[in-house]
Structures are given as structure tokens and as C-alpha cells.
Assembly symmetry: C2
Homo-oligomer: 257 residues x 2
């Protein structure tokens, strides 16, 4: 995959309501979200942009002036080691705020690249400040959203540090299945997962070859089939059990506040 350097085709006044509403499901799982709040937010999110697979969407070290909500496609949060290998630290799916933490941090410590073709809508940092000022509950919601990413990071540390090969792959698939389900992107225990074995290796700390063997083992155990970009989970409870997957860390219970 060519490392194309960020060719962003921004287009304004995109009619976001249908998509945006659909993909705010993640927020809705956690907070009550009124019509008014939704309207306040939607009003600010009108600038969309498209990226092709391989594009760098947000570049490490650059000062950010806006944050982005992913509407379509798969993205990856990643960082490079001095000798050039890439470590992926999170996969992002539609409905995820991919770089909301650039609001408090100003400058990101990592990049975000498009895994498949992607569409985003932008939210200016000054609009975030504005929303928070007008309605302080937004601060809580945004802060919370960035903290669930941190929680996912912790689970990945556990995954990389403590789980064996098969369990590790299984856990990644469990997480992505669970997150996809929230935004309505699953169909009878199948979901789109347009991630190559090389990229899975970069996420799991394995060589691509070994990822292939581990996927084959999951297939032989009649738990998972990955055909091109589609993953099917044949035995969800058994897979969860094998992976030691507990969705608690995704914070999907509704809360007040």
C-alpha cells in the first residue's frame, strides 16, 4: 500500500443529517441526547472531506484546528518506531471521533491513516469551545468520548502483553464486532473488516505470516472465517470465551450526567 501523503478533497455544506444521526449511536449508548443538543452539534458539522485508502488523514506533530468524526470507512491510529515499522493502536469505524483529543492536546503524538476509503465531517476547535460554553454538558460528553479511547488503549496493552496468539486475534475481532454492532454495521455475526494481515500484524505485534496462521487456526476451530474484507463469527460465545472478552471496557451502559 502506497503511503500517499494526505490528499484531502474538502467539500462544504454536506447534508450530514442522515449519516450523522445514524452514527451518533455510539454517543447515544452512553448519554441521553436531546433533539436540541443534536441540533446544536449538527449545525456545526457541515464540512466534509474524503480520503482514499492509504491517505494520511491526520499527521503526527501538526497543530490541529479541528477534529473529525468518521462517517464512512475504516481508519487506524498509528505511530512509527524509529526504524520505520508501524504500530497500529486502534482501529476506527464510522461513528468514531477519530481525533477529538487534538482539542485539549493541540498537537497529536500519532497519525491517523485511512485503511479503506473514508468520509469524515469536521468540527472546528473554536466550535467545540463554543458548544461547551453554551452548554457545559458537551464538555462532559466530549471528555468522556476521549476517555473511552484511553480505556480501549488499556485493553490493547493487556492484549499485547498478556494474551497468546489465538486469543489476541480473537480479542481484536470481538472488539471490532462489538463496536460495529453499536452503529448497525453487523449482519448476523458478520461485519466488514477491510484490514489486511499485514495491518493486523502491525496492530497485534505479530508478523503478517503469523497472523495468517493464527487466522487459519481460528478457522480450523470453526470459530471465525475471514473472507477478503468480511469477517464471520461462527460461534460468538465460544470466541468471547476464548478471547477472554468482556465488553465492559467499551463503556456502553447508559449513564446520567
Amino acid at each position: 500500500m502506497a503511503t500517499r501523503t494526505r490528499s484531502m478533497r474538502a467539500r462544504s455544506t454536506y447534508r450530514i443529517d442522515p449519516n450523522l444521526e445514524r452514527f451518533l449511536a455510539t454517543v447515544r449508548k452512553r448519554f441521553e441526547f436531546s433533539r436540541e443538543e443534536f441540533a446544536m452539534l449538527a449545525e456545526k458539522m457541515t464540512t466534509a472531506a474524503d480520503f482514499e485508502a492509504g491517505d494520511v488523514m491526520v499527521e503526527e506533530g501538526k497543530r490541529a484546528t479541528h477534529s473529525s468524526l468518521l462517517l464512512e470507512g475504516y481508519a487506524a491510529r498509528s505511530k512509527y518506531t524509529p526504524n520505520g515499522e508501524r504500530q497500529i493502536m486502534e482501529f476506527q469505524i464510522p461513528g468514531d471521533f477519530i481525533d477529538l483529543h487534538s482539542y485539549p492536546l493541540e498537537c497529536l503524538d500519532h497519525s491517523i491513516t485511512a485503511v479503506s476509503d473514508c468520509t469524515i465531517v469536521q468540527l472546528d476547535h473554536k466550535d467545540i469551545s463554543d458548544l461547551i460554553e453554551r452548554h457545559s454538558r458537551f464538555a462532559r460528553i466530549f471528555w468522556f468520548a476521549t476517555m473511552t479511547d484511553a480505556s480501549i488503549h488499556r485493553e490493547w496493552i493487556l492484549n499485547l502483553g498478556s494474551r497468546g496468539g489465538v486469543e489476541r486475534v480473537a480479542h481484536l475481532l470481538c472488539e471490532m464486532y462489538c463496536r460495529s454492532e453499536i452503529v448497525g454495521l453487523t449482519d448476523n455475526h458478520s461485519f466488514e473488516f477491510p484490514v489486511t494481515q499485514v495491518q493486523m500484524g502491525e496492530a497485534l505485534g505479530f508478523s503478517a505470516v503469523h497472523v495468517g496462521r493464527l487466522l487459519r487456526e481460528l478457522h480450523d476451530r470453526k470459530l471465525v472465517t475471514k473472507d477478503r474484507k468480511i469477517v464471520h463469527l461462527h460461534d460468538w460465545p465460544a470466541l468471547q470465551e476464548l478471547a477472554g472478552f468482556d465488553p465492559e471496557y467499551l463503556y456502553l451502559q447508559p449513564r446520567k450526567g
Copy 2:
């Protein structure tokens, strides 16, 4: 080490000013912090508590009503895998807000345990709300503090996923040295690191035996000596180079806002 279950000896009206001021160095590295702001914060942080090595200071899954600033001692953020092994995800040193993210999250996905004897001061969540309401800059500062933890998590993912044995150990030592320096806990490239090889293994994804061998290799290369609880870095530039350590992810540059 016995897994003692949280025996907290709280004591009120602790005279924190000398310690608190000293250990707000971490915040000061990033934000200008006025006398008034300091006073507002200090006024709320008067309840201290002591823990012994091995105590669980904050327990996974419990609803939290306050957050804690570590004044003395070493602590660890950790989580357990279903089959009982522990994964450590961050070490905490004096000056760290160990569980500030329990404010937005309400309920933590992991535990915090005392590695050595510890002293903390508490800050009630309602006082946090109060501080933010009276002076909105506190929201930014607190949010920022939780985001630097997330950045550290990302670096650990990279460490676990992409670095080999020696480099991995080296990187951990670089991080802890760097963070210790900010709060004035280093002395000529030495610093206290009261972490056993078992615990280092739990943090780095290695067996304790292997950690021993890796430390020996760093010693043989004349880079590091770890004598009991004291680590001495003999060649800081070479160690940094070996580890591929770039302190950027600690966000130590001052910023406005």
C-alpha cells in the same frame, strides 16, 4: 507480595502545601499556573490517605466519588486477564493524578495498586465540578492531564508491539527517568525505581526470568545498573538512542490556553 485488599487509613486536614506545591511541577511544565489557581486547588485538597505496598488503592468496577493525587511512593495501573495474570499499564510517581479519569468515567475499568508505601491527597468529584464551574480553565487542565495518560498508553502499545527485549526495558527506564526528573526525583542520572522483576515483567509482557536476563544485558553493555530499588543510567544518550526514546509523547512543552 500479598494482595492485601485496600486498607485505607484516611486522615484529614493534612498540611499539604509544601508537598502539593512541589509536585504540581508536572502541571507547571505544561501550563502557566497562577498563585490564585494554586490556592483554589490546594483549598480543596486537604484529605490525605496512606497505603502500604501491595494495597489496592482504587478498585476496578467501583463507582468513584473522588480522585487522588499521589504525593509519595510508586503505584501501578493494572488489570487482570481472566486466567489471573496481571498486566500493568502504567507506573505512577509522586505528582501524578492517579485516577482523574474516574471523574468523567465514574467507574474505572482497572485498578490502581501501591507498589511501595504511598501517600495521596484526595479531591472530591463535586469539588472538581465546582472548580471547573468557577474557573473553566481547570476543565482544560484536568482534561489535558487525562489525555497525557492516554498518550503514555499509546507509547506502551508501541513498546509492547514493536520493540525487542532490550529496547523495551530500556524504553521503560527512559520514561520513568524522564518523568522522575520533572518532579525533582533524580540525582545525577539515578532515580528510585522500587519495582521488582516480576512487576517489570507484568508491565513489559515478559516473564520475570527474562526481565532479569535483559537487565543483565543492559548492565553488560554498560548502560544501566539496577541495584535493589535504585536505577542508575550510565549513558543516557546511548540508552535513549537504543530505546528509540523521544519524550515528545509526554507533552512537557509549555502551552498557552
